[in-house]
């Protein structure tokens, strides 16, 4: 599984960061980004799916294979 944060959509709600701090980072302006190349370790997949499902801006997206 791989994910990305659409910079144009992210408004800094920080829901992804709250759910999976191992995978997402937030900057001083609230913008989220994915740490690394977006590959999601198996152990984080379930919480990452929640991050996708909880983003109010639909900014967290799974990258199709």
């Amino acid at each position: 599984m791989r994910v990305r944060v659409d910079e144009a959509k992210c408004q800094g709600h920080a829901r992804c960061f709250a759910l999976v701090p191992e995978l997402f980072a937030v900057d001083d302006y609230g913008r989220s980004s994915v740490i690394g190349d977006g590959s999601v370790p198996a152990a984080l997949e379930e919480r990452t799916r929640l991050a996708i499902a909880n983003c109010p801006e639909f900014a967290v997206e799974e990258i199709p294979d």
Partner: protein, 411 residues
């Protein structure tokens, strides 16, 4: 309120200050959502009230047609975008791009995740100090003695203003937001805030500190200082938006826990679900409604909107939309999928959302640690405020005094 005549038809003549609506808007929203998902009223100028998540979020994202130049749910009787003291209102909330973009950028770092973390210890100490004043009494006003006392002091700390004036600040903010229907009271609140912040600004020109107000005053944007009216508006915004809103969320959450024994006991027993519970309580009792003004005649959702019409961004109703949330009227403390928009949606996402979440979580953690068992006082009345911000204003609760329990359980 005296000006509120009874509402016969909520689809064409709604009134957000109707006492029944303030007390329990949820059933009205459900009915509107199925029958007439964008209601209309002429009671305070031509105003639209969407209740569906899809409509509310679509309008929030269309900043070209739905401007933030007038965000007050209860319109000012005067004409303040042309106010000489606050020509830009309270930016960034009352502005559109490009002004919105750079004023918001000045503010955001003060409310970043990392910065908010640095306010947590003082917030926790404050909550404990407040609880110590009534935990042995067996009764308290959870709104007036607790919820109301927390955010104003945290925000005063961030702004660098004297938190001994907390009650005065709260009075001004209530005048502006809660008593907005009373022009004299609203004007008094605005006068109080403006006069106070102008004096604080003058002081910091000579003697700047490390606080948000000093930063705004000494910031340079494109090589130029920020206009004083913008500093004033932004500082007033931080106080206005940071006080009533979070206080209402804390109060509503405590009301829920006072009236739902199973949820309260579950949250005490399972502190690990707190992060989910905070989001769920924010969803179910979203305090804030903002307004937008239509910029050009257009049709939206089949409604003929005219330039100058207001739209009430009904985030609280969106968060109860069954098209998005399963069992929307039930609080599910560990609700896992919860795409709520309590902090808005789009470019005006609440700049203080990290702070509000921290304050709500810490306030609940500390209350439950000190007073795990409590219920509404059957001999007293809960009162609610509504309009721009909905939450309990008096929340009398009773609870067993610590002496009756084993020692050392609470704090």
């Amino acid at each position: 309120m005296t000006r509120t005549a009874a509402v016969a038809d909520w689809t064409s003549d709604f009134d957000v200050l109707d006492p029944g609506y303030v007390l329990d808007p949820f059933g009205i929203w459900d009915e509107l959502r199925t029958r007439f998902p964008i209601a209309h009223s002429d009671r305070r100028g031509s105003t639209w009230l969407p209740t569906r998540y899809e409509d509310v979020t679509a309008i929030a994202h269309d900043v070209e047609h739905f401007s933030s130049l007038q965000v007050a749910v209860i319109p000012f009787d005067g004409t303040p975008p042309s106010d000489p003291v606050l020509p830009y209102g309270l930016p960034p909330i009352s502005s559109d791009p490009p002004l919105h973009t750079w004023t918001r950028r000045l503010l955001l770092p003060w409310f970043s995740h990392a910065r908010v973390g640095s306010y947590e210890a003082m917030t926790r100490a404050l909550c404990r100090r407040l609880l110590a004043t009534f935990a042995d009494a067996g009764a308290a006003d959870a709104a007036g003695h607790y919820a109301q006392q927390i955010p104003v002091r945290v925000v005063a700390h961030i702004l660098g203003v004297d938190d001994a004036l907390a009650d005065t600040f709260t009075g001004w903010v209530r005048d502006v937001l809660e008593f907005a229907d009373d022009p004299e009271r609203r004007a008094r609140g605005v006068r109080g805030l403006v006069g106070y912040f102008l004096a604080e600004i003058a002081r910091r020109r000579i003697d700047p500190g490390e606080d948000l107000l000093s930063m705004l005053l000494h910031a340079e944007v494109d090589g130029a200082p920020v206009e004083e009216s913008l500093v004033l508006g932004t500082a007033a915004l931080v106080l206005i938006a940071g006080v009533d809103t979070t206080w209402s969320a804390i109060g509503s959450s405590l009301w829920h826990l006072a009236t739902h024994d199973e949820d309260r006991r579950r949250l005490v027993a399972e502190p690990g679900i707190m992060a989910f519970a905070v989001e769920e309580l924010l969803r179910a009792y979203s305090p804030v409604t903002m307004a937008r003004v239509v910029t050009a005649d257009l049709e939206f959702g089949g409604c003929p909107m005219k330039a100058g019409d207001k739209v009430l961004m009904n985030f609280p109703a969106a968060n109860r939309d069954p098209a998005v949330f399963e069992r929307p009227d039930t609080v599910v403390l560990d609700r896992a999928v919860n795409r709520h928009v309590a902090f808005g949606s789009g470019i005006h996402r609440c700049a203080g959302s990290n702070l509000a979440r921290m304050e709500l979580r810490v306030a609940l953690e500390e209350w439950l640690a000190a007073i795990p068992e409590f219920r509404l006082d059957p001999a007293a009345q809960v009162t609610w405020a509504g309009g721009q911000v909905r939450g309990p204003r008096e929340l009398p609760v009773v609870f067993p005094v610590p002496g009756a329990r084993a020692t050392g359980t609470a704090r």
